[in-house]
Symmetry: C2
Subunit: 623 residues, 2 copies
């Protein structure tokens, strides 16, 4: 059994209440790694075509990786995966905080949950032992109440809780799985799957130290991360992920009014700098992380925001803020608090509200639909109310809780044109007209529009000021953000493999890339943790394998290359503002084809040879 792992995967059959522990070979671990790789493995093995994402046949996987729980910055993450109720395909989201490290120290690498409990339950894992407990009294609770109740009844305040809020219980299709109150496995609706299984929470407590192949080597890298944070990471600590609001606004890359524009007049009101000067109460970190990019905000009026729920990150500031035409930092913070308390993804939630606002402004929705609410861009109070309605599935919120793709169908009247999603998932807050490589990545990502399954290289280079990792991929000069040349697209594809690897490992993009830990030092960390004599080549193969598995899963569920699309809006430039370019349809199509060629996915389908190389022929043969 490799170091860094426990060698145990917990299987929970909620229908029968049976708990079993499964053990796998070292090859299994080295091949599928953890996180996204485990999610792909179990979905492909166990979730056949046509399974209802919200039915008992769906599986819900919580997966850590070899680096999770290792006392190094960026190594406190886990993935949550299932067939997505939002996309109908590969669903998976990653989260930071402290829960994953606790799971590892409690003796498990992953949890596979199947079936459906007859009544609400929660899972408690402590030092190798797991049990299901009644959650009837917890059902309906917000996340803070629920966490407190669990810690109290189990008599241990050091217990870490991953859980759904009322939104997950009510099957909001973009419900999140929250942990540690402010960390969200937000995307692809994993909270709804958890809700559909009547599973309220997973509480973990562990005291077992992980075995490391080379503890001194691990410590050396931990120290390096602590002592060598580049400017970009220092800004992350000072201003959070919101550090980029100002520069994006200047470039026309700050999503505004449902991506109609790329900048907003009062952007300075929602920058990380402004937050630090006004409502910031504290900086927070994930497990073992010196960066402290997370926020804790305190607002006492006109909204009351409980600092225990953290504070808005960049995605939230843009999704509930500029993209709804709003620069009221307190209102956004309130929206963020509600989202964390009820458990929804702030990105999809904000996008759903922006969509509704555009429908309203164009007469597709009226005050009759909104219950009298003037659901216009810039109406901060209306935004906060809509967040409440969505998480409670009340009024128009009940429709928006289905995600923009389904909501647009329900609304009709051509509302689809305002529904900005790929494969059913709403776009995150990165402007594909500006970051065009990332746009191609959005189209191709197995989870639909998702910034956690691809990331734009140029953004990385410009934020870190370093070409090191790009050069280590064999690309020696920087490439512009709007370049969709063959070389650029292939860089994007290779770089996406790196992101997929990080989701397998499971560790943090901010620390590993923006913090310039970089490919090589990350590989060294894997070596020090596991003892495997690995290389950057192999870790990129791990990421490539994971993304191939996710793609094969989508194909098995009926997806085709046609689903690798981009909303039409992004082929037209902003009506005004600093960014003059849009995606070019022909260049975009060519770039997509080049991405396929790079991956050896003719017509979007992984070639048998590629699957053979990656050792996953079984993924198509089993079907």
């Amino acid at each position: 059994m490799p170091h860094g792992y426990n060698g145990k995967i917990l299987r929970v059959d909620l229908s029968s209440g049976k708990l079993t522990t499964e053990e796998f070979s070292e090859s299994f671990y080295r091949r599928y790694y953890g996180g996204e790789g485990f999610v792909g493995y179990f979905l492909l093995k166990e979730v056949p075509k046509g399974v209802d994402p919200l039915g008992p046949q769906n599986k819900l996987i919580f997966a850590a990786g070899p680096l999770t729980g290792v006392p190094v910055g960026g190594c406190g993450r886990h993935s949550v995966g299932a067939k997505s109720p939002l996309t109908g395909g590969y669903g998976e989201a990653d989260s930071g905080g402290y829960w994953a490290a606790e799971l590892k120290m409690a003796g498990f690498d992953a949890i596979v949950i199947e079936g459906k409990a007859t009544k609400p339950v929660y899972l408690f894992i402590k030092d190798g032992e797991a049990s299901l407990k009644d959650a009837g009294h917890l059902w309906g609770m917000k996340t803070l109440e629920c966490q407190n109740a669990i810690c109290e009844e189990l008599g241990d305040t050091r217990i870490k809780v991953a859980q759904i809020g009322p939104a997950g219980e009510k099957l909001v299709r973009f419900a999140s799985v929250m942990n540690d109150l402010d960390a969200a496995a937000g995307r692809t609706g994993m909270g709804a799957v958890m809700g559909s299984k009547n599973l309220k929470a997973i509480a973990c407590r562990g005291t077992q130290a992980l075995s490391l192949a080379d503890p001194a080597g691990v410590q050396e890298i931990a120290r390096w991360i602590r002592d060598n944070a580049p400017v970009s990471v220092k800004r992350m600590r000072d201003f959070g992920t919101a550090q980029i609001v100002d520069s994006l606004n200047g470039l026309g890359g700050l999503p505004t009014r449902n991506f109609q524009l790329g900048s907003i007049g009062d952007a300075d009101k929602i920058t990380g700098e402004t937050m630090a000067e006004t409502i910031l109460a504290k900086r927070r970190a994930c497990y073992a992380c010196p960066v402290q990019c997370k926020r804790e905000v305190k607002v006492d009026g006109p909204y009351t925001v409980d600092p225990q729920y953290g504070g808005p990150e960049y995605e939230t500031l843009a999704a509930l803020g500029s993209n709804c035409g709003i620069t009221d930092l307190k209102a956004i913070s309130k929206g963020n608090e509600i989202a964390n308390a009820y458990g929804v993804d702030t990105i999809s939630c904000g996008m759903a509200i922006a969509f509704a606002m555009e429908c309203f402004e164009n007469g597709l929705l009226t005050e009759q639909d909104t219950g009298g609410l003037a659901l216009r861009f810039g109406n901060a109070a209306a935004m906060v109310q809509m967040v409440e309605q969505i998480v409670r599935r009340e009024g128009l919120g009940d429709i928006l809780a289905e995600g923009v793709a389904r909501a647009a169908k329900k609304i009709g009247k051509g509302a689809e044109r305002y529904a900005l999603h790929i494969k059913g998932q709403e776009l995150p807050m990165h402007e594909p007209r500006l970051k065009q490589g990332m746009g191609v990545g959005y189209a191709i990502s197995p989870t639909g529009a998702d910034h956690c399954h691809n990331i734009h290289d140029t953004a990385y280079v410009s934020m870190t000021g370093s070409m090191e990792d790009i050069q280590a991929l064999g690309v020696l000069e920087p490439m512009p953000a709007d370049d969709l040349s063959a070389a650029k697209v292939q860089l994007v594809a290779h770089y996406a493999n790196w992101i997929h690897f990080l989701n397998c490992a499971v560790c943090c993009f901010f620390v590993m890339s923006l913090g310039r830990v970089g490919f090589e030092r990350t590989a060294r960390l894997v070596r020090a943790v596991t003892g495997w004599n690995t290389t950057v080549f192999e870790i990129l193969k791990v990421g490539e394998r994971a993304t191939n598995m996710a793609r094969v899963f989508n194909l098995s569920q009926g997806f085709t290359a046609r689903d690798d699309s981009m909303p039409l809006r992004f082929f037209t430039p902003h009506a005004s503002g600093p960014l003059k370019v849009a995606l070019d349809p022909e260049a975009f199509q060519k770039a997509r084809e080049m991405y396929y060629e790079t991956m050896r996915w003719p017509n979007g389908v992984p070639s048998p040879g590629k699957l053979g190389e990656l050792g996953i022929q079984w993924a198509v043969e089993d079907k």
Copy 2:
């Protein structure tokens, strides 16, 4: 300018006698690296379609790399390249010894030679200065005499000489460029190109230490190599490359009687062990290398072999030995001495003789053709005489000096069936029926059948007992030698990129792979030498770029996928002996296709996207 390089490339126009120094950007060095990469670059840029390999328009490139001359085992190598007179395509061979380190310390990274001198000349390079000198008096000399004459007339015994012997002067199509008397850039006929230019030798003397980014890091790896030699490398020291004769013979993988068989009765007479017990006078090393795999043998009768010419390596023992049905170690040593003294490739030379022997035994050649020689398998004296005839282009030797492909055409009567070559180059001493992955590599290698441009993974694993590098490519379990599955072929292709990288760096396969320096430590060495923050991913890309350039060059000269062939003999098993299998035509064809798919070479042609990724679109656009 990166560390490890001089930043200077010498251009020698032999027609005008003009010498110039060219300087390139850091990107040029990081992209094309050295060795094979430089050869590909200059051939593609400067040698258009249809150029006569033996005419003045051909270019001859001597190229070191970033590691050449670094005081670490395995780092004393260089490449010699040109359009090949044997294949008509990409020609390139690598050599060890001391010459390349001397070139680097003399201030140059490479030499590009063009035109043709009106009379014999040699080039002298000393500490940044280069001059052409008359070689009229050296023309016709054997390599030892010539080296002594140059050292004497320049008054410095520390001068290192790369040179042609009389075989190169006489344009034997598989003439080698010898250096340090026992090291040969043997394959693809580079010595004939040098001869065609009236260039007898390049003498180097340098005293400038190379600049290293991290001298302590370099030293640490040098020490590791010295102190951590695995068993396979210890055997290399004790028994030379001939350490494998015995085990190959047992497996049926020792080429015997022109590859009709895979083992020979008296194999124990030509093993490395026997050599060590009988004629071995001394072990020799290349520059800075603790391994000492090279031999020095002394024979006083019935043949006299001068130890200054070294001793036979494995390839020579098999080519002039078992493959000619011969196990007379002294005769083989004599053949080796003649080959080194006159400058021919012992592999092609031995294969040409074995071909002639099979023709003779089947009546296609008679004693009339051979001047009364009973040119039968097992006739050691006839073998020695044929080596003499070939290097002097006398009698039947004049025909065989053209290589087996041309010789078979001249002989007619269906002699082609005994002419075992790919793209015109004779097979080296690795049995493709046994090492089937290597067989596919032979077919695809840009230089034709060549063990220095691909190597069989399984051989590597079985010789080192280590899966480390294979696992670092993402392949976790060993694969049998006769496996041609999709996964295996892709491993072979990726591993070939590693070999091509070694030819760019330029460093030694034995030390870096058999010596288990391995991917990761080699990348670390590159980092310590150059200061580039490189990774295994990037160094494999460097190898991939080089093999793509070589392939594009071949395509530009008229090659097609049809040239990626395998002689029919290898699809039939040996008539007797331990090895029962042969290549299967269908499996071989499929494997070739899978290799193309892996490389993104549809129909054998690198896709525009692949060239774009590697930054070498210019290679097709310039044409």
